[in-house]
């Protein structure tokens, strides 16, 4: 893999740090007028999502990480692995619970997700910002209730629990924002 010097650092660049693949979020060049230049870098560890800050002496170089993003379709889970397929090549990938992480509660069969591969194996799975899910369980709503006020918990087909307005019923399809886990609206089939 290529090496990158601090001069090539920019947001989005994927590098290896302490044996983990990381993505640069922010890079600041610091140089006292007559002294050593530093690069102060904010980095996200792509394995655990943690953000750390590191300083490099300008001119140092680090190894790049072989990390790519793919659009894949979620096929099914066998309980141990989650299986995805790249629609163009039909190439299949199996991701473990670590890679799927919190995305698991939004994964619906046939949905398209972004899969991040590190050295060709799944590192993480990102669901779309909005997914349409069917409600499998919720308390019956009160007659005459419109929107606003309160709400109730509802269980989705994927197992996620979302707070929904009182008028939404079992069997209905709703749109959920996966970044916040919040109800957005009813959805059409």
């Amino acid at each position: 893999m290529a090496r990158y010097s601090t001069n090539e650092f920019k947001a989005g660049l994927k590098i290896m740090l302490d044996a983990d693949p990381c993505a640069i979020i922010e890079n600041e060049f610091i140089k006292p007028g007559k002294g050593q230049a530093f690069n102060r870098v904010k980095i996200r560890n792509l394995k655990n999502g943690r953000v750390i800050e590191r300083t490099f002496k300008s001119g140092e170089s680090v190894e790049g990480a072989d990390v790519i993003d793919l659009e894949t379709q979620f096929l099914y889970t066998d309980g141990e692995f989650w299986h995805f397929m790249e629609p163009d090549t039909f190439e299949q990938y199996q991701a473990d619970a670590n890679a799927v992480a919190d995305s698991v509660k939004w994964l619906k069969e046939q949905d398209i997700c972004t899969m991040t591969l590190w050295n060709d194996s799944p590192l993480s799975v990102t669901t779309p910002n909005f997914v349409d899910l069917t409600i499998t369980d919720t308390d019956p709503g009160l007659k005459g209730d419109t929107s606003g006020g309160g709400g109730k918990p509802a269980t989705m087909e994927t197992g996620a629990v979302v707070r929904v307005p009182l008028f939404v019923q079992i069997g209905e399809l709703i749109k959920v924002d996966t970044r916040t886990g919040e109800y957005v609206s009813r959805a059409k089939e």
Binding site: I30, K34, G35, Q36
Partner: protein, 309 residues
């Protein structure tokens, strides 16, 4: 801004000068990378006889040659070029205002700088002045002039700066650069103008070592709202000492695996013939303009920043 500056110096009888941007020699400072180019003896043809030329990293050497030739106090507004310096507050090509005052002490020059910046930034408050050592101790509790590796390391650990330990090792100057940039400089934001004087002797650059205290150099820096704007010296005029510093810097270059830089003989000869006692300073005009226009990045004040130049 340029008009105000020219008027300012006109009133004070300081002569505006122009010196070459393309020079046959450059500075030896290992922390300053330069752009170089070749003069072709035959047009459109590269040959061994071609002469290597450098874009100036500052007009300092040329202006000191003028001073040695008896120019009297001079100022210049020009471009300077520094390779590999690119960031929010750095553009590889930038505009410098540099001036020298013959017969001025450092404190007289400090007053003049402050007056100019006050005029440009429309600030009436008097500047905050503090010595490097006092400021350093006030912020970190550490002694900037005497290197105690244990206490520097302990401070870094306590303040979440573990990276410094591996980066700076036992290099005192590097530690100062790191801690000053990360811990000290951010505290200067509150001051419209701040003057930090008596830099440690190990960071003397082209300043004279203080005659009373050999641990400090007659060097100061100007910070406007915490942003470094300029660097001033009581100028080193001893040609022997100057040559020694060039040699030291060249040997640091060797240790760092950097190519050697040919010493500027024109400049050394000028010093030998006698540089009058003087103080000088360079200000970064792009940064000053950025502050005057209340913007956050040099890209906001440069017509075509480096990536679109």
């Amino acid at each position: 801004m340029l008009k105000t500056i020219r008027l300012f110096f006109d009133h004070r009888d300081v002569l505006e000068v122009e010196t070459p941007l393309l020079c046959s020699a450059t500075g030896t400072d290992p922390q300053l990378d330069f752009f170089s180019s070749h003069y072709h003896c035959v047009a459109n043809t590269e040959s061994a006889a071609d002469k290597r030329m450098f874009l100036q990293t500052s007009p300092e050497f040329a202006m000191k040659r003028l001073l040695a030739a008896g120019s009297g106090s001079i100022f210049q507004i020009c471009k300077a070029f520094r390779n590999s310096e690119l960031g929010r507050h750095h553009n590889p090509e930038f505009t410098i205002l540099e001036w020298y005052r013959v017969g001025y002490s450092l404190s007289e020059l400090i007053n003049e700088v402050t007056e100019l910046i006050a005029e440009l930034t429309d600030n009436k408050k008097s500047p905050y002045k503090i010595s490097y050592a006092d400021l350093f101790e006030q912020t970190t509790g550490l002694n900037a002039l005497e290197f105690c590796p244990q206490s520097y390391r302990a401070y870094a650990l306590k303040n979440g700066l573990e990276d410094a330990i591996g980066l700076c090792e036992n290099n005192h100057s590097l530690w100062l650069d790191f801690l000053f940039s990360y811990q000290v400089q951010p505290t200067l934001k509150q001051h419209p103008i701040c003057i930090v004087y008596e830099y440690p002797a190990i960071q003397a650059s082209l300043a004279r070592i203080n005659t009373k205290n050999p641990n400090v150099a007659d060097r100061f820096e100007v910070f406007v709202q915490g942003i470094e704007i300029g660097n001033g010296f009581f100028e080193l005029s001893d040609a022997g000492e100057q040559e020694k510093r060039f040699d030291q810097e060249n040997s640091s270059r060797e240790k760092m695996g950097l190519p050697q830089v040919k010493k500027d003989q024109h400049f050394l000869n000028a010093l030998k013939s006698g540089l009058p006692e003087c103080s000088g300073i360079a200000l970064g005009l792009d940064r000053l303009l950025m502050i005057m226009t209340e913007t956050q990045s040099l890209n906001d004040v440069i017509t075509f920043p480096f990536d679109r130049a």
